[in-house]
Symmetry: C2
Subunit: 239 residues, 2 copies
């Protein structure tokens, strides 16, 4: 399915709540719904004007990516990328992911960023495909809500900085500031590093804040990447 | 493996970082380490006094619960439960889970609660087994750090309340207060509901606070349960 998705510019969203949320959001174009013939009540779909195809269970399961399928998949168009030139002109909070690899983490970040009404999200090189079915599932229907761009973080962050954005690197290294002491700016770009090795060295410059979330690091090495991002969003977002 | 674990009072922790963290914490008794013969460098283990058994890959993989095993499993003793009678005499923040079902969510809650130095965690009836391998993996080695008790939440919450604890129900219903406006008490019990249906009705009483995390609920129905818990921990914990 991966190759098919890429070639056609499509992604798949699975599960009743996820599909319903995407339909309700009305931002992503849903081309068609695929249903398992043996699935339960899907009468909630009647209010949406989308072609529905019922498949034999065997065929449905060959497309499904989940272990316990709920018998519904939306085939959706991948939304166009935004442009950094436009994103830098916005306000609020934007997330930048530096090689986030776990699909569940990335999906949770997108979900939380949507909840806190982030102005966008930037997927740095090395970040897992944000339209991977596992990522989409973890967004709980938030996929497509946020303006996004993929590419080289270093260049894009520079552009944000030139436009007066406060660059916050989530990092507990020397000289870092406790999140609770950071006063939110009108425009904040939060950079989150890879689950294992953190933020790439070249992204650290003297003009950028290193921000940490204080905790008992002898109990556990770090917070989960999606959790740390969510706490930062809670702190910086003005919802 | 499930039955074996239960009968013997053992749990399994997998992965280099997770095992190392558990050994370093020194709270959980590690009975033995199982290694895949083809695993990589495990020289970091030499400083710990634990019996090590090398297994053929086939045997190792029959025990492993992970898709991409790192070739190391610690066989650990399940720590004894604490007693609510003791927990109510402590201070700080305690988490209570009301039927949390996703192992990744529960593990992440334990990990975050350990980071924020929570005084304990209470697993309400219907919560997934906290020593399930998938939960243990998500704790990133924090398993065993926190005093815990499993059982009927209703009774236990009453006991906390009688001892002067502030009971915070994470719920966005009518009369709920924005988390940012809640002044942390010296003793806070944070109750988190099931991923789908929230907190059980009978746990709501007039003496307990309903607390919400404000967000754009038309974009996505809710925050992930572990994320909401983590944000509440960030707010209430005094680390």
């Amino acid at each position: 399915m991966g190759k098919y998705r890429k070639r056609e510019g499509l992604f798949l969203a699975e599960g009743v709540r996820c599909v319903e949320q995407i339909l309700e959001n009305g931002i992503v174009t849903v081309e068609e719904l695929l249903l398992d013939k043996t699935a339960g009540d899907i009468s909630f779909l009647k209010r949406f004007d989308v072609p529905v195809y019922e498949l034999e269970s065997e065929d449905f399961l060959s497309i499904s990516d989940t272990e316990n399928s709920q018998g519904i998949i939306a085939v959706c168009q991948i939304p166009f990328e935004a442009n950094v030139d436009e994103l830098v002109l916005s306000e609020g909070v934007i997330i930048a992911t530096d090689a986030i690899q776990d699909p569940g983490n990335l999906g949770t970040m997108i979900r939380t960023a949507s909840w806190f009404d982030a102005s966008g999200i930037i997927f740095g090189t090395g970040t897992v495909d944000s339209f991977h079915p596992k990522v989409v599932r973890s967004t709980a229907g938030a996929t497509g809500r946020l303006a996004y761009q993929s590419g080289d973080l270093s260049k894009m962050i520079n552009e944000f900085e030139e436009h007066g954005w406060d660059i916050v690197l989530m990092d507990r290294g020397e000289g870092s500031i406790n999140l609770k002491e950071v006063v939110p700016d009108r425009r904040t770009l939060i950079v989150v590093g890879n689950e294992g090795r953190g933020i790439t060295g070249k992204l650290f410059t003297s003009t950028r804040k290193k921000v940490r979330i204080d905790g008992k690091s002898e109990a556990v090495e770090s917070l989960n990447a999606a959790v740390a991002t969510s706490i930062a969003l809670y702190h910086f977002a003005k919802v």
